[in-house]
Subunit: 160 residues, 2 copies
């Protein structure tokens, strides 16, 4: 089962390495990971996506809590949340395909972030399955490069 | 000096931990990091931002090359590149501030990704300084939570 964990940690050298080490020590692969500053530059927020048995994820969560520089761990699967990632996709765009690439960009509300005579680089955001849909539809045109951020997640606010 | 490194690596448990360990072993802090699959699910692309002396970055780059699961390392500072990150920012949005929050979202081409009677969550993309500008302008209204992806980067294509 896919798990999305959100971890608040001290922004210090070595913390990230210890967190990722806990996963690899158990043979768990991290499918995607994002880490950056929060409002407080001394604290970072890390979001990671991993697949695996819930019992083991629970054990890892407990071990994360024990790390001195870890402030908070949330298993997003336990709450209602929004998840998003961003991809920059460089796709072949020559005379005969440019219009189609722009149409696709428009449909998925993407933005062109770099242009050359032979390619466009598109920025697209959305849940992982939307990003995958864009990739699948652009693939026959010719994808030259993809860079994706890790997934990030935020708990939904109470609706009343 | 700020350095943005782009690293292609085998998508296996432990690789991420070894890469981040190289930085912490030298007391280097990673300011932001993103890792996710590429077109080939067996290969991940990792982008990280760190600050430090160029000589030491060069040493780390050489050590990265020696890791068996590292396929390619690019120091983006050596090329012309586009960098982007995404943030989801939850900001207070009550009767008297909703219009202003939406105006700001509109100016920065943000999208509202979650709504409650008391807050909006905005998705914003851009270079790190643009994200910082959005944060600075929303801060007086009341930011409740921020989650940011790591910065990702792609080399610009040749213009002719």
């Amino acid at each position: 089962m896919k798990h999305t964990l959100s971890v608040l940690l001290q922004n210090k050298p070595g913390v990230l390495s210890r967190v990722t080490g806990l996963f690899s020590g158990r043979g768990f692969n991290i499918e995607s990971l994002s880490v950056n500053e929060t409002l407080d530059p001394g604290i970072s927020c890390l979001v990671l996506v991993t697949s695996g048995d819930s019992t083991i994820i629970e054990q890892i969560t407990k071990q994360l809590h024990k790390l001195i520089d870890v402030i908070k761990v949330s298993d997003m699967n336990e709450v209602d949340y929004v998840e998003r990632e961003m991809a920059i996709i460089r796709v072949k765009a020559e005379a005969n395909t440019r219009a189609e690439v722009l149409r696709i960009a428009d449909i998925f509300r993407g933005k062109v972030v770099d242009v050359s005579p032979k390619s466009y680089a598109l920025e697209v955001t959305g849940a992982a399955d939307k990003i995958q849909a864009v990739i699948d539809i652009l693939r026959p045109i010719g994808i030259q490069e993809i860079v994706r951020t890790g997934t990030i997640a935020i708990a939904r606010a109470k609706k009343k």
